[in-house]
Symmetry: C2
Amino acid sequence: MSVIFSRQCEYALQAVLYLALKPAGTMISIKELTKKLGIPYHFLAKILQDLANQGLLRSMKGPTGGFTLAHPATEITLFHIVEAVDGLDFLNTCVMGFPDCSGNNPCAVHSQWGSLRDGIHSMLVHKNMADLAKEITKPEYKSS
Amino acid sequence: MSVIFSRQCEYALQAVLYLALKPAGTMISIKELTKKLGIPYHFLAKILQDLANQGLLRSMKGPTGGFTLAHPATEITLFHIVEAVDGLDFLNTCVMGFPDCSGNNPCAVHSQWGSLRDGIHSMLVHKNMADLAKEITKPEYKSS
DNA sequence: GTAATATTAGACCAATTAGTCTGAAATGTC
DNA sequence: GACATTTCAGACTAATTGGTCTAATATTAC
């Protein structure tokens, strides 16, 4: 199975984007997220805890508690989330799996894959959560 | 861990390319491939058997036996190999993991990812094994 | 202070992917 | 025909990822 991002990472992207749509500082519970996004409760809990530990989210316990972005939506990019969850190895390793592939010992698709990969990299770096929030049309993100 | 192709698929790409460098019809044993490419013997055996069953390779038993391309190198593309090993779901599914993402219900990066994905798709379709063979500089493919 | 509600921590289980091993079947050489 | 060499088939193990569960801790509201 070819894959770009792990399922964990997909869930993280969905959840952070959901948070980005709420007024800054609004605490959102796992319960609400899991309900709106259809992500398994405990699995999502682990992912959010991890993001909180890495400083991307802030969390608070108790009723009225939940998660919220730790930084302005404009300052959180796709890159930050992917980096935190999946890591960035895929931007530096050979697409054909050669361990020694590099500029002076390139594989047969090195340069062509290189520019595609740069396109992906650039998208990750430039798209922040505020950008994404503007483009949302999906019903699962609408109303509370 | 983000990934484009599974390890199986990477190994398949490496092995098929190796075969493409030999004169058409030359039988290459798993032993030679595993030695030159550093891929675990029995694992590679399974992958090659699978490719043979799917009609991409031809195989023969006994001494002087081995594997060879079932079609001219110009007619085997990256696309064929990826399709046979990993499948092509990643070209049709949402990069953020939304099950209902589509043209009339797009996710926030739908169109931008769409063009990157098309670039990948196009590379897979247009690069055939003969093209790749021409660009080889890697030492593991040199000499016998 | 008590109860309700939320995250936190970590052990645990299930499914998929990666990799190993063994024995059988086919083919070429002597 | 005997033997060496190869693929073939399938069971098996190991590692990673995906997902579940339980008990503890913090916070709010009464």
